[in-house]
């Protein structure tokens, strides 16, 4: 387990060890969507809005 701070509300998030750059994580406290910018040490930022239709 490793920790990082929510870029939105400042809460401390427990993160899995297999964290990936580009991964999207939800903050359990404020519900913000966060993107993993760096893994070592972990840095989180607000995830970009979905600007168009994505995926399937």
């Amino acid at each position: 387990m490793t920790e990082a701070e929510c870029a939105e509300c400042g809460a401390t998030l427990d993160l899995a060890d297999d964290l990936e750059t580009g991964e999207i994580i939800d903050c359990g406290t404020c519900g913000a969507e966060l993107e993993v910018i760096d893994v070592n040490p972990p840095v989180l930022d607000r995830a970009p809005e979905l600007e168009e239709d994505w995926g399937e």
Partner: protein, 290 residues
């Protein structure tokens, strides 16, 4: 193999794929398409000595352009830009299926509200109105009456992006409360599941219940034909049961497999990586001959 993953978001699906690739000792290069430029002769993305590139861009426009450029540099990319172009557009998708003789719901495309209304009335109620681009069942409407049709068409005409002014009208298929999702590699099914819901949209993304499904010979044949119709690749084929047969609604080119992986005993990421290895080996063999 040396494999590149094009992405702008890493979801559970991409994580499953990455960990399977790394476990097998492959050399993985993650390429965040937001950080690169794609030129006519080269790119800032490190693709030069890759054996294969897998497109996992969720945004359709990124997927369409990035794969086209990567292919132009002579690097094999899956899914191919040709497949992406057909699958990203519901009208092209339907047409490709029909041309290949794959049963697919009756569909009409219209370009004005008036003409769309005529199409809707010709199908009768309920029928379905979908955007030609889009995902996870968003902005799809089941139309139960003329007044509902008028309201929706008015909204789309007023608010919609130009792509929402291509009206894609489809017959409503009565199905037994579920549809079938097959993940396939070049027409070969990896696994299949049903998605059930009280709601007419049964997407796993919309919270439908999933269960493993065994494909019969007819379904196997349809999956292969549907895959060929869009040019093959790693695909999600959506079928519905129509009593004694099937109809193929669409083929998805940025297939999600985490729900399927949790539903079946088949190791879906492993099967996908098996297939990627065989694609990379084809390229190596072709180079040895050249």
């Amino acid at each position: 193999m040396k494999i590149g993953i094009l992405y702008s978001r890493i979801r559970k699906d991409e994580k499953l794929l990455l960990s399977e690739l790394r476990e097998r000792g492959h050399d993985v290069t993650k390429i965040d398409v937001r950080k690169h430029q794609f030129g006519l002769h080269d790119t800032t993305a490190p693709v030069d000595d890759l054996d294969i590139v897998v497109d996992r861009c969720l945004a359709t426009s990124r997927s369409l352009y990035a794969t086209r450029f990567i292919e132009s540099y002579g690097v094999p990319v899956v899914n191919s830009p040709e497949t992406a172009e057909i699958c990203a557009d519901k009208a092209k998708n339907s047409l490709a299926l029909a041309e290949a003789g794959v049963p697919t719901p009756e569909t009409k495309v219209a370009f004005t509200k008036e003409s769309a209304m005529d199409a809707i009335e010709s199908f009768g109620y309920p029928c379905v109105l979908k955007p030609v681009v889009g995902s996870w069942g968003r902005l799809m409407a089941k139309i139960d009456s003329r007044s509902a049709a008028e309201a929706i068409l008015e909204h789309k005409a007023t608010l919609g992006h130009y792509e929402h002014k291509v009206f894609y009208v489809q017959e409503f298929v009565e199905k037994p409360g579920r549809d079938i999702r097959v993940v396939a590699t070049d027409g070969e099914p990896v696994a299949a599941m049903t998605r059930s819901s009280e709601h007419w949209l049964t997407n796993a993304a919309k919270g439908g219940e999933t269960e493993e499904f065994e494909l019969d010979d007819e379904a196997l044949e349809l999956v292969e034909k549907a895959s060929d119709a869009v040019g093959g690749g790693l695909l999600g084929v959506d079928l519905m049961e129509t009593g004694d047969s099937y109809t193929v609604h669409e083929v998805n080119h940025t297939v999600e497999f985490k729900a399927l992986n949790g539903t079946t005993d088949v190791d879906v990421p492993a099967a996908v990586v098996d297939w990627l290895e065989s694609k990379a080996a084809e390229k190596t063999a072709a180079e040895a001959l050249a």
